[in-house]
Subunit: 641 residues, 2 copies
């Protein structure tokens, strides 16, 4: 097979690949992450690159304009290598991880997470003293009685005996690795050792035995693996305090922006492995940063608790998610046994444990379970709703007697994909917009610099403001001639949010009729999911006690505007409560308490999955939601007024 060298600019990364390799996979194989929202199908047009020199073959397609073709623009996913190449990756085609410096990213994502005092299981108001502290792993310092001719109990049984003296642990297992070194260790440490005991489902295991007293240093990590964002926390398991939180974008996005395109990618040769490695590398990277920042040794991190939607959980464990998207949509496992973290490639203490939050079905995963646990709705008399808005969102409705959950795929529009000027919530994204009189428009960007595009919360503000200013009608059509920012385009009308003179890209930032249509569909998907679920359960939304809003999207979400465009139901505002990243918070709870984990298992078993599309009213409900805020204005009394 002929091999060619491809050099990617401006990174100057060079990779040797076989003839006929796509530029996209060549880029990925040398760590150049190119945007590829559609997963390489040639339809999203996000992976444009410029071939500076060399010979390529490409598939014709509509995503490249004639003008761009003249400038040697190609779709990386549709173009194959036929000689040594020099390829430039324009800023707009790169996944924008590095564009937000770490403190800014941290700052931006801060609201994402509850402050330590909020998440602390015994302090959080509603959950006070609810869960016993019983972390996934526990360290015990033991001073063993020294054997004598009168006391010849074997070393291992002596250890067990002493464990039972200081704790209420029952039968405990020990792996051969720990037994092999035991005798020497006990004598070298003069019978003073620290054992780390982990919970492996219903049994207990000695994870490690260390000389002397190291019991003060026992740490765990909790992760929420989202389709778009991976967030993690380092937790002191002794004091039940959160030491630090981090979030990074899920680089799996390079293989498709939603779970479906990633499942498809996983079917390619080496695809599953690559998706798995990508998420594990991200976790290891975050862990390393977290422990370095807090002066923790890797060996003292003895457990990890992960949550995520079902596809993310499968990919984390290198389990083929193929059957999640094939009828009848059955995952390999919802309840995954506790394993050694090293089995999944996660670097902590070599014998440390990895536990995954149990999920419910192919499209309602452990993140929903964790969110419900954290919301506390599962133990209330009154009905509540949990709305987790994201590329792959979930809705749950229930109380102490029942819980029903549905998957509501809002699509990637609110994440900045599938909309002309859309971008992720990163440096240069317009995140807040206010339209004033006389075509005046104020916006605020992440990082405060020149705008590069609009992120989800910016679009919600923009839609609400366009409605309030009367610049779009209730179907979302821009009204030509009403404002000088509205102008005709090839496909209809568009509204200029920022003129090229003021942008970082030198191009106008606009919202078009087509963009509004996409956003309208996304909000309709969420709203109609809530409606159908409520109707299916014969629940009156106005009588619901609480509507919890969760997810990364919620951070900058202006709740009033979200109601205004019909994304959230129009209930009295004190009922709408922003939970932050409830999935991560729930995972941390489970890390700290076996009782919380058991509770989550019960929740996962109790949840009934409801497939929205099988409801005969679903289409009607969805169609009715394709207005701002809704066809039936009576459902939005505060807006009607």
């Amino acid at each position: 097979m002929e091999k060619f060298k491809v050099k990617f600019l401006p990174d100057n990364k060079i990779v040797e690949v076989s003839k006929d390799t796509t530029l996209l996979s060549a880029a990925l194989s040398c760590g150049v992450y190119i945007n590829s929202a559609c997963g390489g199908d040639g339809v999203c047009g996000k992976c444009k690159v410029i071939v500076k020199s060399g010979k390529v073959l490409t598939q014709p397609g509509g995503a490249i304009t004639l003008e761009q073709r003249k400038q040697n623009f190609y779709l990386a996913c549709q173009t194959t290598v036929h000689s040594d190449l020099e390829v430039e990756v324009p800023q707009g085609s790169k996944l924008d991880y590095a564009e937000l410096s770490s403190p800014e990213l941290q700052d931006r994502l801060k609201g994402f997470f509850n402050a330590p005092e909020e998440i602390e299981p015994v302090k959080a108001g509603m959950r006070e003293d609810f869960f016993a502290r019983s972390p996934l792993t526990t360290k015990l310092f033991l001073e063993l009685p020294v054997p004598s001719l009168e006391d010849r109990v074997s070393d291992l049984e002596r250890l067990y005996y002493q464990i039972r003296q200081v704790s209420d642990f029952g039968a405990i297992q020990t792996g051969l690795a720990n037994i092999r070194g035991l005798s020497e260790l006990l004598r070298d440490s003069e019978w003073k050792v620290t054992v780390t005991i982990g919970r492996r489902n219903d049994s207990l295991e000695i994870i490690s035995i260390e000389p002397q007293d190291t019991s003060a240093k026992n740490f765990g990590l909790a992760f929420d693996i989202g389709t778009t964002t991976i967030s993690g926390q380092l937790v002191d398991l002794n004091s039940s305090t959160i030491l630090g939180t981090k979030a990074v974008y899920n680089k799996q996005a390079a293989f498709g922006s939603d779970v479906i395109s990633r499942i498809i990618y996983a079917q390619e040769k080496g695809g599953l492995e690559r998706l798995h490695n990508t998420v594990v590398e991200a976790i290891n990277e975050m862990s390393r940063e977290l422990i370095e920042e807090h002066g923790v040794h890797l060996n003292d991190v003895t457990c990890v608790l992960c949550t995520g939607n079902t596809t993310m959980s499968h990919l984390l464990l290198n389990i083929d998610p193929a059957y999640i998207r094939r009828e009848p949509y059955v995952p390999t496992a919802n309840f995954i046994p506790v394993i050694r973290a090293s089995e999944a490639g996660i670097n902590i203490n070599p014998r440390g444990l990895l536990s995954c939050v149990p999920g419910v079905s192919s499209y309602v995963g452990g993140d929903t379970t964790a969110g419900i646990l954290f919301s506390g709705m599962y133990k209330e008399q009154d009905l509540s709703i949990l709305i987790d808005i994201g590329t792959n969102g979930e809705i749950a409705l229930g109380n102490k007697d029942f819980i029903v959950a549905s998957a509501a795929s809002a699509g990637p529009a609110f994440e900045g994909s599938g909309v002309a000027s859309g971008m992720r919530a990163s440096l240069g994204a317009i995140q807040k917009i206010k339209i004033g009189h006389g075509s005046r428009l104020d916006y605020q960007t992440i990082g405060g610099g020149k705008p590069r595009g609009i992120c989800g919360s910016g679009y919600i503000d923009l839609l609400a403001e366009l409605l309030r200013a009367g610049l779009i009608d209730r179907s979302g059509k821009l009204k030509a001639g009403v404002d000088k920012r509205i102008r005709a385009s090839e496909t209809g009308n568009e509204f200029v949010v920022a003129y090229k003179e003021e942008t970082a890209t030198g191009e106008d930032i606009v919202i078009s009729d087509a963009d509004i249509e996409n956003l309208k569909r996304a909000k309709a998907a969420v709203y109609s999911a809530v409606s159908i679920l409520a109707r299916h359960m014969a629940a009156d939304i106005s009588k619901i006690k609480k509507i919890y809003i969760a997810g990364g999207f919620g951070t900058c979400l202006d709740i009033e505007n979200a109601v205004h465009i019909g994304l959230l139901p129009d209930v009295s505002r004190e009922k709408l409560e922003f939970l932050g990243n409830s999935a991560l918070a729930g995972a941390t709870l489970m890390l700290l308490s076996a009782q919380a984990f058991k509770c989550a298992e019960d929740i996962a078993r109790r949840i009934t999955y409801f497939e929205l599309s099988v409801d005969p009213c679903y289409m009607d409900e969805y169609m009715a939601a394709l207005f701002f805020p809704h066809t039936d204005l009576n459902r939005f009394p505060s807006i009607k007024k």
Copy 2:
């Protein structure tokens, strides 16, 4: 470091070693097994070799006569390499594994083991219907309901559900390896699979999942790892029948004939690893032969159950046995958790299990537990005694209320070591002797050919016959002049059993005063251990219901002669019952029944270890037993008569 080539004759094996390496370790490193009863201390004189060419350095010592020195005889353990060498290993210095062909060995060791019908747990008279059949691993054939839109239970939970439909198994764990391939496997096999479920102490684990119905093929192996002999059985776990039995000599003998010298050897660099590998290789070799002979696939062997004394168990698992011989004599573990066989290097199904019979103390191991289980003495109203005679023997006394056990190291004399013409029970060994009138002596050799030496059972016959013929006195001294076979030697008198004309070695086969002294000490060790234990428990030996005799030694043991020389107590003969290899039989029982294993755990916990040497009467009792049959003839009424 200078390297030299050493060639060993007659095997023509060549090895390159560093200067200063001993000839013994050079030989071992290329698979030439030289006898080394003392473990390389230069005292046993068993490792004599002839240096044919090259330069060596040696330590002076008494084991080589001046005559031998002239013929270039050296002790392999005391002689180091200082040039390329040619070394001849005389027949007498080699461990005699290969000298008995496999069928002969099998034949010789047959009596060792109970016939299948005797060992079968539900058939064996005393134990009828006592233990439920519940093997260490079970195969279940499952036809899973095919998932549909109405039945979307995940694959793993579907599997668990079906297991619960056809069995009474409770919570079951599954490793990641099995989960990873599960979805594809279920669909490829059209939802018909066989799961192998193993018992890992108190939890259950799915060991493997295979397509279609393979449940008819489920096999296990039981091993008794003795200091001298390793015996094993292949068992059909479905029908609870023994398919075949094998025994080989434990090649660890090359590193010392008893457990103490092996523990010492384990402290040398690489020593533990070498001892471990030696026993594991033997097990793998036996397994391979057994499964080949019975047309079984390695993958269908799903579990192994091993027993052995505490040192053997530690070496099997590559656990340093150092502390077994250091005061206060504490082993690393008596109860060893069930592990994967591959963790110990044993080749069966890659995920198959290894379980070890629980032991009691450093010198009372799982073999005693297994023997007591098999004897049934632990559940009788009346007291019984179990005597396991071997290099490292054990005595147990008890009933359903208590069991006391002691270690009685008979030493290697009965195994053919430490006696001039002694040899192991292998080809050419005199195993039966009858002395007639007029210096007539009839003997029978293993294999029927010319004699090479005398094995343990031969020595017992010989001593009894010498006593009966009045050729030795009760202290064991040969009576000079009474028989022409008795003649003077350098150290006293000796009795010629076979003249050089009739032997295979061309040398006389004799028993000397010194040999008799050694044998007398060995029998005194066993007898006095039984006496002390009985006295300690205030038990009248004549009132004991049964005395079970176990061990490899017992096979050819003439019980009448053993009583005659005072090895066994003089009780009515129907009380003396030969059990065969009760340790192996007990292990097989445990392989077939979790209930039997639980029972063995109870037995191991119940047994009180009694250290003979702390009894103030021990020395008196031992001294009194240094007569044939005993100082106190009243203890041997049938002999007195």
